[in-house]
C-alpha cells in the first residue's frame, strides 16, 4: 500500500500531538437548556484522565448542528492550545476534496469489451468537477461517460461518520478531572401544546398543557437534565426565522387584555423556565411530550365575532367566527402564564365523546390575560353584508349606509359582535339601528342580539373623510 502525503490540518495535528485520545466515555452529566427559537445550550461533563504532555482530545456525540463559535471547554490543570471543529462528515464529496494533491486509483471499465484498466492519478481540483493528473496527462473524471471507479487508499482521520469535536491541550502534570464542554446548537426546539375541552353548557374549559420537544440535531442526548426556557431570545442574523416569527405573531390575534399577575414558575432573567423533573433521553428525530399544566375547571364562554374591512356588498353570507374566551387569571381558575403554542379545542358530542372542534395559536401569555381563541366558523350563524347607499358629502367626504343581516339557525338566542375596521382618518357614525361603540381610531363595533332561529338586521351610516 503506497504511503500518503499528509497535508490536511487534522492529520498534522494528530502527528504533532504526543497522543490522541478519543473521548467516548458517556457523559457524567449532560444538561440541555432548550429555547423556543430552534436553539439550545448543551453542556457535557465528562471524566478525563491524562498523563502530562500534549494531547488531542476528541469528543464524539456532540450535536451535528453545533454552532462552533460558541464552544467552550473547561478543565482544571489543562491548557488549551487549540480547539478544532472536525465535525466534517464523511461524504463522497468531502473524501474527494480531502484527496486533493494525493494519489487515488482509477479503475475504468471499457463499455465495448468490458475489460477493466487501472491507473494511478493525482487529484488536482474538485471544484465543479474532478480534475486528475494521470502520468503526464490532465483529465476530467468521467467526462467521457465511461464508468470509472475511484479508489481511495485511506479515509482522512478527521472525516467522520458522526460529528466530533477535538481539542489540542497541554497538561503540565497528569490530570484526572471532569471536563465541561458547552456549546449552543440548532436543531433542538420546543413549544407548548394545549388540549382544551370546552363545555359550553357549564361555561368551563379543562386545560392541559404539554411541552413538545423536538430533536432534529442529528444526535441523541442520553439521560439529559433538561430545562426549557419560554420567551423569545433575540438571535442575530437569522432573518428568515425572524420573519416567520413576526408573521406568526401577526397572525396571532388571541390576546384581548394582557395580564399583570405573577405566577410561581421559576424565572430566568425575563424568561420563564420549565425544568423537566427527571433526566430524560432526547433521541434524534424524536418528538417528546411532557405535561406541564393541568387545570380542570376554568371559566370560559363562547362568542361570535366578525370583522369587516370594506364597505361593500357581498352576495355570499359569511359564517361568523366562533371564539372561545377565557382568562388565565387566578380568579378564573388558572393563574399561570402560558408559553406560546397551539391550543386544540375539543367539545363533547351527543354521546359524550370528545370531538376536535378547532385550534388557535397563542403567544407567550402572562398570567391574568384575557384570551379569545378562534376555533372556526359557525355553520349556523351567518352575516350578510350590503352597502345600501353611498352619498357624496363633499369632494373629501362621503357617507355609507351599511346593512348587516345576521341570521341564527340555532335553537338558542345569541349575540354576534360585528366590527367595521380600516375606516378613513376622520370617521363618525351618523345613525345606527343598535347602539355601537368605537373600538379604536378606525373601527367601530356593534353587539347584535339575534333570536333563536331568527335574524336581526344591523344598519348604520358612517361618514368618513380625509
Amino acid at each position: 500500500m503506497p504511503t500518503l502525503r499528509r497535508t490536511s490540518l487534522g492529520c498534522l495535528l494528530a502527528v504533532a500531538a504526543t497522543s490522541a485520545l478519543a473521548q467516548d466515555n458517556p457523559d457524567k452529566r449532560l444538561s440541555l437548556t432548550i429555547y423556543n427559537s430552534n436553539l439550545a445550550l448543551v453542556e457535557h461533563v465528562r471524566p478525563l484522565n491524562l498523563p502530562a504532555g500534549r494531547h488531542r482530545i476528541e469528543f464524539k456525540g456532540v450535536s451535528a448542528e453545533i454552532i462552533s463559535q460558541t464552544v467552550s471547554f473547561g478543565a482544571s490543570g489543562l491548557e488549551i492550545i487549540e480547539q478544532n471543529f472536525d465535525y466534517d462528515l464523511l461524504t463522497p464529496q468531502k473524501l474527494m476534496e480531502k484527496a486533493v494533491g494525493q494519489q487515488v486509483r482509477i479503475v475504468r471499465t471499457n463499455p465495448g469489451t468490458g475489460a477493466e484498466s487501472s491507473e494511478e492519478a493525482e487529484v488536482l481540483s474538485t471544484v465543479g468537477g474532478v480534475v486528475l493528473k494521470i502520468g503526464e496527462r490532465i483529465e476530467v473524471l468521467r467526462d467521457d461517460g465511461i464508468p470509472a471507479r475511484v479508489i481511495f487508499d485511506k479515509v482522512p482521520p478527521n472525516l467522520r461518520a458522526s460529528p466530533t469535536l477535538s481539542v489540542l491541550a497541554e497538561a503540565a502534570k497528569p490530570v484526572s478531572a471532569d471536563v465541561t464542554l458547552a456549546y449552543l446548537t440548532h436543531g433542538l426546539s420546543w413549544n407548548a401544546d394545549y388540549v382544551a375541552v370546552f363545555d359550553e353548557a357549564k361555561g368551563e374549559v379543562a386545560l392541559q398543557g404539554w411541552i413538545t420537544l423536538e430533536n432534529m440535531s442529528g444526535t441523541t442526548f442520553t439521560n439529559a437534565i433538561t430545562q426549557l426556557v419560554a420567551g423569545d431570545v433575540n438571535v442575530v442574523g437569522n432573518e428568515a426565522q425572524w420573519w416567520q416569527r413576526y408573521n406568526q405573531r401577526r397572525a396571532t390575534n388571541t390576546r384581548r387584555g394582557a395580564g399583570i399577575e405573577t405566577s410561581n414558575r421559576q424565572q430566568l432573567a425575563d424568561y420563564y423556565v420549565y425544568p423537566i423533573a427527571q433526566p430524560t433521553t432526547v433521541a434524534n428525530n424524536q418528538k417528546k411530550q411532557v405535561s406541564f399544566l393541568s387545570a380542570e375547571r376554568v371559566q370560559a364562554s363562547k362568542g361570535y365575532e366578525q370583522t369587516f374591512y370594506q364597505l361593500e356588498s357581498q352576495q355570499e353570507p359569511v359564517s361568523a367566527e366562533v371564539r372561545v374566551r377565557f382568562s388565565n387569571s387566578k380568579a378564573a381558575g388558572l393563574g399561570d402564564q402560558l408559553p406560546s403554542g397551539v391550543v386544540r379545542v375539543y367539545a363533547r358530542d351527543a354521546r359524550g365523546q370528545p370531538q376536535f372542534v378547532g385550534e388557535d395559536r397563542i403567544g407567550h401569555t402572562s398570567a391574568g390575560s384575557d384570551l379569545a381563541l378562534k376555533i372556526g366558523d359557525a355553520f349556523d350563524v351567518t352575516v350578510q353584508q350590503t352597502l345600501k347607499q353611498t352619498n357624496r358629502i363633499s369632494s373629501r367626504s362621503s357617507e355609507y349606509v351599511m346593512s348587516y343581516l345576521v341570521r341564527n339557525a340555532r335553537a338558542l338566542p345569541t349575540t354576534v359582535t360585528i366590527r367595521q375596521d380600516d375606516l378613513w382618518r376622520f370617521n363618525e357614525v351618523r345613525a345606527e339601528s343598535i347602539k355601537g361603540r368605537r373600538t379604536d381610531a378606525d373601527s367601530f363595533a356593534w353587539d347584535v342580539p339575534v333570536p333563536a332561529n331568527g335574524e336581526t338586521e344591523l344598519t348604520f351610516t358612517i361618514r368618513q373623510s380625509w
Binding site: E312, V357, R407, A409
Partner: protein, 532 residues
C-alpha cells in the same frame, strides 16, 4: 450477523437503542379493540381508539403500536390510565432506503457490481463507513463512494437494524400505580383523511320542484385499515393552524380534481421524500455528467414506489353504501353526521354514504344577467344570460336541513329520459338561508344591451349618467323569468332617473325582474345618475 455491534462510529446511534433496552418494564398494546374516526374537511381526522392493557404496579412504558402513520404526535391524548404520565414519545423510525443505510453504518454488506458489457457480476464484502450525503464504503482494496462510478451497483444487507419499525409507535412512560387491567382511550389527529359532500338534484318537468340527494364521499388515503369503525364526518370550517401547508381548500374554491381530494398533497409529499432520499444517498463528488440513472434506484425503492402508486389512487377502491342515510347532530357550531352502523374503512378506500334525501323541494328557475358599474357596452353585443336555480332552505319549501358545502349536479327530464343540466359549487348553507346556484348559460335566450351615448355625453364633469336599454329575446317555447342586475359599486349619491320597470335592490345591486313570453321580446330601459 449477530447482535448490533456498537463500534465507535455507531456510539451515538447505539445510545438510543441502549436507552430503550435499559428502560423499565414495557407493556405493549399491539392494536386497538375498537376505533372511532371523525373525518374533517381539511385533510384531517380525529382517531379515538379504545385499548385494553394490563399494567404492573411499577413504573412502566406503554408501547402503543399500530397507530395511523400520519399521526400528529402533539395532538395525542391518553385517557383512563389512572396514573401519572411521566412523558410521551412518538418515535417512528420508518424503514426507508435512507434510514436503512444510515442505521447500517459500521455493518458489513455485499457490494454487487455488474459489468455493463460482459454481464459479469462481481461480489465484494464492504463495510459502510458513512451514510450522510452519499455513502462511503471500505473495501479490501481501498475506499470508494457508492453510486459514483457509473457502474450498476447494488448493496446487499443481511438484516434490518432493530430500531427501524414498519409501523409507527407511540410510547408513554407511566408512573407507578395500582396494577391491573385498564381500558384506555387514545385519541389523536391524523392527516390523510378527507370527505366531501356532493348533491344530485333532479328537476321535474315544470322546473318548479326538485328531488335533492346529498352524498358524503369519505376517503382514507392512509395505509391503515379500520375494521368495524364508528365513522362520522364534521361539516363546517374549523380554524386550523398552518392549514395552507396541508393543502386545505376554501369552501368556494372550485375543486379542479374532484375525485382525488388530497391526492396532490400526498403526491407532493411522496415526491419530496423521494427527492430527499436521492439527495441523501446519491451524494457524489462533482461529476460533469449525471451519475447513474435514477431508474435503477426507483426499482429498489419499494416503499417510495408504493407511496407514489397510492398517491395516484392506483390502489383505490370505491364502496357505495346507500341503503341508509347518515344521522345528524349539532356539534358545537358544526354539523356532525354519523354512519348508521359501524363500518369497515379500508386502507386507501373511498366510501360514499347518503346524508340527505328530500323528495320535493320548491325551486325557482330563472335567468340572470349582471352588469358591472362601469361596463362599456358595445352596441352590437349579444349576451347570454346565466341559468339560475334558486331555493329556500326551509321546511316550508320542502328542505330545512343544513347543507354542507359541495358541488350540486342538476339533471332535468328530457324526452322521457334525463339530461345533465349543469353544476355549481355551493357554500355551507344553514337552515333559513336562500340558495342561488348558477348552473349554466342559457340556450335560446339572448340579451342585447345598448347605451345612450348622447345622454352620457350631455351631462359634463360633475355627474356620471348611464342610459341603458336591454332587449331580451326568448326563442323558447315557454315563458321565462329574467333578472337583470346592475352593480352600483363605487357610485355615490346614485339616483334612478327613470326606469321602464320598477327597480328593486338585490345583494346591493339594482335589480329588475320580469317575464318574457314564449317566442317573445321584452325591453328594459333605465337611466342612472351618480356624482362623479
Amino acid at each position: 450477523m449477530s447482535a448490533p455491534r456498537c463500534t465507535l462510529a455507531l456510539a451515538a446511534l447505539c445510545a438510543f437503542a441502549q436507552a430503550r433496552a435499559a428502560d423499565e418494564l414495557v407493556v405493549a398494546s399491539p392494536q386497538p379493540d375498537s376505533v372511532a374516526v371523525t373525518v374533517y374537511r381539511d385533510d384531517l381526522a380525529l382517531i379515538t381508539e379504545t385499548r385494553t392493557v394490563t399494567l404492573p404496579a411499577e413504573p412502566v412504558t406503554l408501547s402503543i403500536d399500530g397507530v395511523v402513520e400520519t399521526l400528529l404526535p402533539q395532538s395525542a391524548v391518553l385517557d383512563g390510565v389512572g396514573r401519572q404520565l411521566a412523558e410521551s414519545n412518538f418515535s417512528f423510525d420508518r424503514l426507508t432506503p435512507v434510514s436503512l443505510l444510515e442505521r447500517s453504518v459500521g455493518e458489513t454488506v455485499i457490494l454487487t457490481r455488474t459489468n455493463p458489457k460482459t454481464g459479469r457480476v462481481s461480489r465484494e464484502r464492504a463495510r459502510i463507513l458513512a451514510a450522510n450525503a452519499g455513502v462511503v464504503l471500505a473495501l479490501e482494496g481501498g475506499h470508494e463512494a457508492l453510486y459514483c462510478s457509473g457502474l450498476p451497483e447494488r448493496l446487499e444487507l443481511e438484516k434490518v437494524p432493530g430500531e427501524l419499525v414498519a409501523k409507527p409507535r407511540l410510547s408513554v412512560r407511566l408512573a407507578a400505580g395500582e396494577p391491573g387491567s385498564r381500558t384506555l382511550k387514545v385519541s389523536y389527529l391524523a392527516h390523510g383523511f378527507a370527505w366531501s359532500s356532493d348533491y344530485v338534484a333532479h328537476l321535474n318537468d315544470a322546473s318548479d320542484r326538485m328531488r335533492l340527494d346529498g352524498w358524503a364521499t369519505l376517503t382514507n388515503r392512509t395505509g391503515t385499515a379500520f375494521a368495524q369503525a364508528q365513522v362520522q364526518v364534521v361539516a363546517g370550517r374549523l380554524n386550523l393552524i398552518g392549514a395552507e401547508q396541508r393543502g386545505s381548500r376554501g369552501d368556494f374554491e372550485p375543486r379542479d380534481d374532484e375525485d382525488n381530494v388530497n391526492a396532490d398533497v400526498l403526491d407532493r409529499a411522496a415526491r419530496a421524500e423521494a427527492e430527499k432520499a436521492v439527495a441523501a444517498l446519491r451524494g457524489c463528488f462533482p461529476a460533469p455528467l449525471p451519475v447513474a440513472a435514477p431508474a435503477v434506484y426507483a426499482d429498489r425503492a419499494v416503499p417510495l414506489g408504493m407511496a407514489a402508486a397510492r398517491a395516484k389512487g392506483a390502489l383505490e377502491e370505491v364502496v357505495v353504501t346507500a341503503s341508509r342515510v347518515m344521522s345528524r347532530e349539532q356539534l358545537g357550531d358544526y354539523q356532525l353526521y354519523r354512519m348508521p352502523l359501524p363500518t369497515d374503512l379500508g386502507a386507501r378506500e373511498t366510501k360514499q354514504v347518503a346524508f340527505l334525501a328530500k323528495r320535493a323541494v320548491r325551486v325557482d328557475r330563472f335567468y340572470s344577467f349582471r352588469i358591472d358599474s362601469y361596463d362599456a357596452i358595445r352596441d352590437d353585443e349579444v349576451e347570454t344570460p346565466n341559468v339560475v336555480l334558486s331555493f329556500q332552505n326551509t321546511e316550508r319549501a320542502g328542505l330545512g336541513e343544513p347543507l354542507p358545502s359541495g358541488r350540486v349536479r342538476v339533471f332535468e327530464g328530457y324526452a322521457g329520459g334525463e339530461v345533465f343540466a349543469g353544476e355549481a359549487d355551493m357554500g355551507d348553507r344553514p337552515v333559513g338561508l336562500p340558495v342561488e346556484l348558477t348552473i349554466g348559460r342559457a340556450l335560446n335566450l339572448t340579451l342585447e344591451t345598448t347605451s345612450d351615448f348622447d345622454l352620457e355625453r350631455r351631462l359634463g364633469v360633475k355627474f356620471t349618467i348611464v342610459g341603458r336599454e336591454h332587449r331580451v329575446v326568448n326563442h323558447k317555447g315557454t315563458a321565462v323569468t329574467m333578472e337583470i342586475r346592475h352593480s352600483i359599486a363605487g357610485w355615490e349619491s346614485l339616483k334612478v332617473r327613470r326606469s321602464s320597470l320598477r327597480a328593486t335592490s338585490k345583494y346591493g345591486d339594482l335589480a329588475w325582474r320580469f317575464n318574457v313570453p314564449a317566442g317573445g321580446v321584452e325591453v328594459l330601459r333605465y337611466e342612472l345618475e351618480a356624482t362623479r
